[in-house]
């Protein structure tokens, strides 16, 4: 990194003696001023809370400690500001973060918000809509879906299950749920749960499982008596390959965020790229098992998006597959749109892959499930597939179990 000009440091010092150190991680004066202001606001809040509890309210010391952490953090580069402040914004939500659990990213919030808005605007939805979030981390995805959906619409019961292999993540996700439930704006509808499980292991692998290891997803669903069938599957799994971790991943991410959340585990005979992609085949199988109608998977870039889209195409069940960029709600400028095997939506880096089938098309506002914008995909209409492979699901949108629970009643789509 280039050294900061002395004139800039001097200028910063003239404004506030705590600014020059923050210029290190921030690089420019405006960002440094913003960070310092946020840190101050945080310190004010903390000391007010302490004061009302009868403690002392020494602000200066706390502020200096936070600045020091941000700047050195005991490592060559400072810790992420969000770990110091304890929260990060995700859409309109303030989500609690902790070292050991990945800090939610704005790109994820943008795709989840876009998906939720599409579904929210659907004319007809099942009376209960089930959303499975694999690799949930802080729980930010289900919590944001809930927020965006219920801010406008309340005729649907949303059921969420967030799954993670890390008990730290599950504890934090539950904490975030409790925290939001206490806030005034929370709409008390639907069910949100989190569950410990491993989405990568095959339950039939003949590898011995240690007793303290989390159960494979399917076994965990059964064991915890969770629903087996879901409508939407969302996942932001670890997707960075080992070489990309070394070369294109920011130092503060490498140094402070959990590798478990970023890089899929290696396996003998796996190439670097295959390792980066390791979660997607398992997620796509889980999507089939759960009979979901919409799948949204986050990816690292356009190349990975293509690989994942092709994997999904290979499952031969989807009526449509498209790739979303960072800002899927923005019209692309049209200038540099390469002719592509899959439609590419929005602006920015390739960020996620969306697949749908059957009623999923309607929930997304696609024209009657026509495969019109599914590009050159040749796919059987869902109803046909249904009669071949799933004789029990004549009403393609009914979960067999809820169908029984409701005596064929209200899950009409």
């Amino acid at each position: 990194m280039p050294r900061l000009p002395t004139s800039l440091l001097r200028k910063a010092y003239a404004i506030d003696s705590l600014l020059p150190p923050l210029l290190g991680p921030c690089r420019d004066l405006n960002s440094a001023r913003n960070e310092l202001r946020w840190l101050r606001e945080h310190v004010d809040k903390v000391s007010r809370a302490r004061y009302t509890k009868g403690g002392s309210s020494a602000k200066g010391g706390l502020l200096r400690t936070l600045v020091r952490k941000r700047v050195s953090g005991g490592k060559p580069i400072g810790a992420p500001l969000q770990y110091g402040l304890g929260t990060e914004y995700f859409g309109d939500l303030e989500i609690e973060v902790r070292p050991g659990v990945l800090i939610p990213r704005p790109e994820t919030a943008a795709s989840v918000t876009h998906l939720t808005r599409l579904v929210r605007d659907a004319r007809e939805l099942p009376t209960e809509l089930r959303i499975l979030d694999l690799c949930t981390g802080t729980g930010c995805i289900p919590l944001l879906f809930h927020d965006v959906f219920y801010s406008v619409r309340s005729d649907v019961e949303l059921r969420f299950l967030g799954v993670d292999i890390s008990s730290k993540a599950i504890a934090l996700a539950n904490r975030n749920l409790q925290r939001l439930r206490r806030s005034k704006k929370y709409v008390h509808k639907g069910v949100t749960e989190f569950m410990l499980a491993d989405v990568l292991v095959n339950p039939f692998a003949d590898r011995a499982r240690r007793p303290d290891e989390p159960l494979p997803l399917k076994s965990a669903l059964n064991f915890n008596k969770k629903r087996v069938f879901w409508d939407i599957l969302v996942s932001n799994p670890p997707y960075i390959s080992p070489s990309a971790f070394r070369t294109t991943t920011a130092r503060s991410v490498r140094g402070f965020e959990p590798r478990l959340a970023l890089v899929p585990p290696g396996e003998a005979g796996r190439s670097d790229t295959e390792q980066g992609d390791a979660f997607y085949p398992m997620l796509l199988v889980a999507a089939i098992d759960a009979e979901v109608k919409i799948v949204l998977l986050e990816v690292a870039d356009l190349d990975q998006a293509y690989r994942v889209a092709r994997m999904a195409q290979g499952m031969q069940v989807y009526d449509g597959i498209e790739i979303w960029r960072d800002q899927p709600d923005q019209a692309h400028d049209g200038s540099s749109q390469p002719s592509s095997e899959f439609p590419i939506i929005g602006q920015g880096n390739g960020r996620s892959v969306l697949c749908w089938r059957g009623p999923g098309a309607l929930w997304l506002g696609k024209n009657n499930g026509e495969a019109s914008n599914a590009g050159p995909l040749v796919q059987k209409p869902y109803s046909e597939l249904d009669s071949v492979s799933k004789p029990e699901a004549v009403h393609s949108s009914l979960h067999p179990e809820s169908f029984m629970q409701m005596q064929g009643g209200r899950r009409n789509v």
Binding site: S31, L93, I240, A250, V253, A261, E298, Q327, N349
Partner: protein
């Protein structure tokens, strides 16, 4: 099932404590119900300029370089460019990107309206009304304040932050609620 009409909601007011702190007391008496009667002062103001998505280019997630899990930036800056006039509004004062977006849109709306309607714009009408009402001592104080803040954030003009809106599609009654007086346009304060 029916299609819902996504109007008349202003969830952001309740979530926006960090920058709206100053305004909270103003908002308090009528937190949820947005009718004209709630804010009689806003009655004579021209309607808020609605910004359509097609009019602007919005930039907040850098398109170049890696993103997603690979980086973790704290900047939640939002930049709007109005395509027809080339006016650019950048907003980065809060940690919440969605709040920055809303504020940027509102500021752009006011700039455009002023440009399009001149003396008849909300900003001017309000300013005139206020200068009539306010005592001169208050005025002096404000001028000094503005002088201090203006250098830092030229877009957060006098009423830049008086409220927030969900999106371009602000309904009229919401707009009226947002209208109010314009005292708190200074959340751009430095640390």
């Amino acid at each position: 099932m029916q299609r819902l009409v996504p109007l008349l909601r202003l969830p952001s007011l309740r979530r926006s404590a960090p920058i709206l702190g100053l305004r909270q007391s103003n908002i308090h008496p009528c937190p949820r119900l947005f009718t004209a009667s709630c804010r009689p002062a806003a009655k004579n103001l021209p309607p808020r300029r609605v910004i359509h998505d097609s009019e602007i280019e919005e930039n907040f997630l850098k398109g170049s370089g890696p993103g997603g899990q690979k980086i973790n930036k704290t900047s939640s800056a939002v930049q709007l460019k109005h395509l027809a006039t080339g006016i650019v509004v950048k907003y980065q004062d809060t940690r919440s990107r969605s709040l920055n977006r809303k504020n940027a849109r509102m500021i752009l709306g006011e700039k455009l309206e002023e440009l399009e309607k001149g003396e008849e714009s909300r900003v001017r009408v309000k300013a005139r009304e206020k200068s009539r009402k306010k005592a001169s001592s208050t005025k002096k104080k404000r001028r000094k304040y503005r002088g201090l803040e203006g250098a830092k954030d030229e877009v957060a003009d006098e009423e830049g932050l008086e409220g927030v809106e969900e999106s371009a599609g602000t309904s009229e009654s919401e707009a009226k609620d947002l209208a109010k007086d314009g005292t708190a346009g200074k959340a751009g304060g430095a640390g």
